[in-house]
């Protein structure tokens, strides 16, 4: 056992944690904006999936992963528009809409992929993001390999945390978003356009989720396979709640979920007595516990899940 827990083990564990937490973090940051404005977004999973596919398509068509990202964003926006129209404009239940978005996305991605690329025994490969070592920093002992030899989307994801914080807490937009999510009527009385803010936030969640999906298909790989998101969108929803709807909290939650996953893989590789399913369950159980008492409903935006209709 002692040979497992070497310094090297911890370093590589940490690196894996970071990689595994990035898609969760990206999607969860998007989900945070949506929920902060009062719209529950369970459709993150579907938006990630379509982002993963569109990213590959974009890179395939143009040869540039950056344009792939733009495609992924477009795909995320597409589904987000559906979600926003249903929830904000029509006032349909947010959760049910999100589920429908997910179902739709599973079918649509698989359908489009096959219609475009046919059936192959080897993957359709596209240009993807290369790891970008940051000169100087990458050679730092210990943390160099963990933190500074990732691909650009990883840096981007972590940069988005303070940026999201900045937007949420330091700007007029952020204050408007928080106001709309807490008390849409009050927002209305100070002249904030509730519908517009909610639309923008849901679209933002689509953009973030799309990038999260593209991170999987273009950042981690250079291909799309059916269902490649594998439930990470739902974990992201959990991360939003567990992170108490705050960027820093979401960062912590994503890292915890990423760590649980990374640890699970490694413990299985070296063999421990604990069934690996226990580790897989962990993020969800943690969320349930957090939801009952630890994270009271008081920390949730007060108007979360409630449609707002002007008289």
């Amino acid at each position: 056992m002692e040979q497992i827990f070497t310094l090297g083990f911890f370093i590589t564990l940490l690196a894996a944690t970071i990689r595994l937490s990035v898609p969760i973090l990206l999607a969860a940051l998007g989900g945070m904006f949506s929920e902060r404005s009062g719209v529950i977004n369970i459709g993150l999973e579907g938006m990630m999936l379509i982002g993963a596919l569109f990213g590959v398509i974009g890179s395939y068509v143009t040869g540039s992963p950056w344009i792939g990202i733009l495609f992924a964003i477009g795909g995320g926006i597409l589904l987000a528009l559906i979600h926003a129209y249903m929830t904000v404009s029509l006032g349909v239940d947010h959760v049910v809409t999100g589920i429908a978005v997910n179902i739709l996305s599973v079918g649509l991605t698989s359908f489009i992929f096959r219609a475009m690329f046919g059936i192959t025994t080897t993957p359709v490969k596209v240009n993807a993001f290369k790891p970008l070592a940051i000169p100087g920093l990458k050679d730092l002992p210990l943390i160099g390999p963990i933190l500074f030899q990732q691909n650009i989307l990883v840096y981007l994801a972590f940069l988005l945390v303070p940026l999201a914080s900045l937007i949420l807490y330091r700007t007029s937009w952020g204050l408007a978003i928080r106001t709309v999510g807490e008390h849409p009527k009050a927002a209305d009385t100070v002249g904030i356009n509730v519908v517009k803010i909610r639309y923008l936030c849901v679209l933002l969640s689509g953009i973030f989720a799309g990038v999260a999906g593209a991170f999987l298909s273009l950042g981690q790989f250079n291909m799309f396979v059916d269902n490649m998101v594998s439930g990470r969108g739902f974990i992201a929803v959990a991360a939003v709640i567990f992170g108490k709807w705050k960027p820093s909290g979401i960062l912590a939650a994503s890292l915890i979920f990423g760590l649980a996953d990374a640890l699970q893989i490694r413990l299985q590789a070296v063999g421990t007595g604990i069934p690996y399913q226990v580790f897989l369950m962990l993020p969800y159980i943690v969320t349930v516990i957090a939801m009952s008492g630890l994270v009271g409903k008081t920390t949730a935006p007060a108007a979360l899940g409630k449609s707002y209709e002007k008289n």
Partner: protein
């Protein structure tokens, strides 16, 4: 007024289904498939043989149960998104009973495993119910989270403690034959579970509309304040609603292992829990509506397989159509209501 109800209850669902099919047809044209041909198989292909029809019914059985589960909670104003997980724990309990007591008389083995599934599903639904009643936690999030916990619990059980004796596959041994649900029509798979599901349809209808408890649950769902005024203990009722809802979903697990798989497998009958939400909404959250909508979903899913076999259409098109039906139905209902309101205002 009658005409207005007609619009929402009849015209909107039909238009929603048609619109979804039309959009699906456009996609089919993209891959050079004749949509008329594909849809004729999808919708009609399995209605020509007894076996085809029986398969539709077989498919519908668990969806009816998860649909009932969603309906039951929905009528109390709660969203149970956890039918999938509740189905899995129900199946686990049913299989454990089937393994241990499958040698008993069917008259004992079957009711006992049904009971076990009810209890297990009830507990799995009761947890979010309890958290809702005590802490006011969102039952939506908790039920979703518990879905995953159930999936991994199942995976662990078939991987380790309940793994078959030969140890080959991550699955349990077959349950005792006396715990199998008898087949109703020879040479089909239509099993007793269908009748059991119909029984629960009637039971849910009776509970909701013919008993004191149902009266209370619906009152809580429709108007919390009035329910309080009428002396109903709102929190207890919320807990009860989710626990009973979970029990119903647990029965879906029972019918699937007792009637189809006869053992526990990883990830069996995936997605049935979510289908339940769709059929409940499509069936206007009435037990009989759930049956009809489940039959429609059964038809679509069995038809999707036929469509794939004979026309070569990828089965995933059905996911698209299902997703679109839900969206169009919900959106359409609200648009229709708005239209009515506008009209009413114009008249007044």
């Amino acid at each position: 007024m009658k005409k207005d109800l007609l619009l929402i209850n009849l015209v909107v669902p039909i238009l929603a289904i048609l619109a979804a099919l039309v959009l699906g047809a456009i996609l089919l044209l993209f891959i050079n498939v004749n949509p008329l041909e594909a849809y004729s198989v999808l919708l009609f292909g399995n209605l020509t043989s007894l076996y085809g029809i029986s398969e539709i019914l077989v498919k519908a059985v668990p969806i009816i149960m998860t649909g009932l589960a969603f309906t039951f909670a929905y009528r109390t104003g709660l969203f149970n998104i956890g039918a999938e997980g509740q189905m899995y724990v129900g199946a686990i309990a049913a299989v454990v009973v089937g393994l241990k007591l499958g040698h008993l008389s069917p008259f004992l083995a079957i009711p006992l495993s049904l009971l076990a599934a009810l209890i297990a599903g009830g507990i799995w639904g009761g947890i979010p119910g309890l958290l809702k009643a005590v802490f006011g936690s969102s039952e939506i999030i908790i039920t979703i989270m518990l879905n995953y916990v159930a999936v991994y619990l199942l995976s662990y059980l078939v991987d380790k403690p309940l793994r078959e004796k030969s140890g080959f596959y991550p699955q349990t041994d077959m349950i005792g034959e006396n715990a199998f649900l008898p087949v109703l029509i020879p040479n089909t798979r239509l099993h007793l579970g269908f009748l059991i599901a119909l029984l629960f349809v009637v039971l849910v209808y009776i509970i909701l509309w013919r008993t004191k408890l149902g009266f209370e649950l619906r009152a809580v769902g429709l108007n919390l304040h009035a329910a309080e005024y009428a002396g109903i203990d709102v929190r207890t009722k919320m807990f009860l609603a989710l626990a009973l809802s979970g029990a119903l979903a647990g029965v879906a697990g029972f019918t699937e292992v007792g009637g189809i798989h006869h053992r526990l497998l990883d990830n069996f009958s995936k997605g049935v829990g979510f289908d339940g939400i769709a059929v409940a909404l499509l069936g206007q959250a009435t037990p009989f509506g759930v049956v009809l909508a489940s039959l429609l979903f059964g038809l679509l899913q069995v038809g999707a397989n036929s469509m794939q076999r004979s026309v070569g259409v990828p089965a995933n098109i059905v996911y698209i159509i299902q997703g679109l039906i839900i969206l169009f139905l919900l959106g359409g209902t609200i648009l229709a209501r708005r239209y009515q309101k506008k009209k009413a205002k114009g008249v007044a």
